[in-house]
Amino acid sequence: MNKLLAQEIYYFMVLGRNFEYAAKENYMQGNVSGFLHLDLGQEAFSVAAMKAFEKGDIFATYREHIMAMARGIAPKAVMAELFGKAEGVSGGKGGSMHLFEPSRFFYGGDAIVGGQIPNAVGCAYARKLQGSEEGVMVIFGDGASNGGAFFESLNIASTHKLPLLFLCENNEYAIGTNIKRSAPFREQAKKAEPYMMTLSVDGMKAEAVYETIKKAQKLIEDGHGPVFVEAFTCRFEGHSVSDPNSYRSTQEMHRCKAKDPLEHFKKELLEKWMCSDKELQEIEQKAQKAVDEAVEFAKNAIEPNTAALLEHVFVEEV
């Protein structure tokens, strides 16, 4: 980590937070619909992971707006997708849960819990076969690590020593079910231990996430095969905007919000990286401007034409 990188990470964290609030506001106004899973509270995790794993392939879940932007997909294209517009990154056909951009090696946006993990294994297999330098990173929640696809993937990835980083976002909840009620222990890394090296990190701290992912990446590059990283996070709101979050007590939410990753990282920027208030203000303003422009763009973007309905079912017409 260096000052410039820290500032960049801070920029994407602020961008992410403001973007999610703007998405929520536009959902309330009816401009955005469907399921909208906000990444509020998990900005450090999402941004630092992407910035550490800069080049390889990414397979993510439905909670992926911030990751997509940190991966270089324009906020305008993401917001326009949430609005269902033709200029959205998935042409308005995917929506919030299905952001795809192969030019950024970003493959969803998958809304079948755990479904992306075997896909990432396959992609890692391809990369190994191609002798590529870059590995693959798959992001999934603590809910997904209870599923069969996850366990099958641990086995296959380690058998073939694939260049795959398993990144578990452990926010302790799968919708309303706490991990303690769906698994015998909280730490999901325990499940991976027999198969591969595992690392754990406080997912609310950007620098720690960044360094841990870098370390995992190095292990993969050195030929250790797959590595499992578990980041403990906490989401600030319900599972999606339609979830009232009533299963978490006020005290629990209080403890959660006390770990605000933005406040923590801002303090680091001021104290450790010697940023000035003015520098940070400029970053914050720039991020807010990007969000405002994204919303403006999405509002004015065009609807897909009706012919789009039948397009892209197949590559080749018959």
Binding site: A144, G148, A174
Partner: protein, 325 residues
């Protein structure tokens, strides 16, 4: 009473009289079910009978099969039809086949509750319908629920039956209002005549029944005719007798379904009509269904991908004019 309340009441009543009945699924317990169908049950019957599971659909259905073998009557909830695909091995290779493969020795009194369909902009991985696959597998009873009264009676029946049932609900119907006649002795395998008419038999199921009903005034005034609307209710078995009586009277048949057209469930109904009702028909059968595309997110495209009250009316009117209705 709301559709979801009728389902809740059915479950509640059966759990109260039969303590072998258990329900399991993602967030069915403390959370009350993602469509609130199991609300209040964990408080009444405890976590051992209202079981919150991990996100593991194959195990939800697979465990239900084992519970049934072990002497319970499980009601498994799949959160959304698309997720059932992870459980299809259990549904098709296990749930549907054990009774037959064991020469009748294994009995699986179980229900898989199955919310599905196009809701509102939930996109391709949360909107599909799977009755075509479920009904092509011998050994499963498949019921579909449009009506609130039917919801209550049919769910009770399915839980107390000794056969394996897939119980299909539509995600947009949970807050639908209706009356329940608690005294009624309802036969869940009988189709429901929603509206009587003389000139066209319109067959449908799930939410499309309501969409058809909305389209009726326009059709009847444009064609100056009267339509009979039938809700199939049971998809396996199909109540052909009720359909035959209606078609003999009207001599015209239309099938409306939300699912993708190719290979869709309605093709069975129309194939039957072409083969068995040929001499009663005065017009070629009409089949309206969803487009053969994954369901898109954008609202306009989403609505263009399935029949709507407006498109149903337009297509039936055009067909009627062409065929001298």
């Amino acid at each position: 009473m709301l559709y979801r309340e009728a389902l809740n009441k059915a479950l509640d009543e059966v759990m109260a009289i039969d303590d072998t009945v258990v329900t399991l699924g993602e967030d069915v317990g403390l959370y009350g079910g993602s469509f609130r169908v199991t609300e209040g049950l964990v408080e009444k019957y405890g976590e051992e009978r209202v079981i919150d599971t991990p996100i593991a659909e194959l195990s939800i259905v697979g465990n239900a099969v084992g519970m049934a073998i072990g002497g319970l009557r499980p009601v498994a909830e799949i959160m959304t039809g698309n997720f059932s695909l992870l459980a299809f091995d259990q549904i098709i290779n296990h749930m549907a086949k054990f009774h037959y493969m064991s020469d009748g020795k294994i009995i699986l009194p179980m229900v898989v509750r199955f919310p599905q369909g196009v809701s509102k902009q939930l996109a391709a991985q949360h909107s599909e319908s799977y009755e075509q696959m479920l009904c092509s597998v011998p050994g499963l009873r498949v019921l579909s629920v449009c009506d609130v009264n039917y919801a209550y009676h049919a769910l009770k029946f399915a839980i107390l039956s000794n056969d394996p049932f897939v119980f299909i609900e539509h995600e947009l119907l949970y807050n639908k209002k209706g009356e329940v006649n608690f005294e009624e002795q309802l036969d869940p395998f009988k189709a429901r005549i929603v509206k009587k008419g003389e000139d066209i038999t319109i067959i449908s199921y799930l939410k499309m029944v309501d969409d058809v009903m909305q389209s009726i005034p326009e059709i009847e005034s444009a064609l100056n005719c009267s339509c009979e609307v039938i809700d199939l209710c049971s998809l396996n078995p199909i109540d052909y007798a009720t359909l035959a009586t209606s078609i003999q009277k009207t001599s015209r048949v239309v099938m409306v379904e939300e699912d993708h057209k190719t290979g869709g469930f309605g093709s069975q109904v129309i194939a039957w009509a072409a083969q068995e009702m040929f001499y009663s028909l005065d017009a070629p059968p009409l089949r309206l269904a969803g487009k053969d595309v994954p369901i898109p997110y954008n609202r306009t495209l989403e609505l263009a991908s399935i029949p709507t009250p407006n498109s149903i009316a337009q297509e039936i009117i055009a067909w009627g004019r062409k065929n001298d209705v």
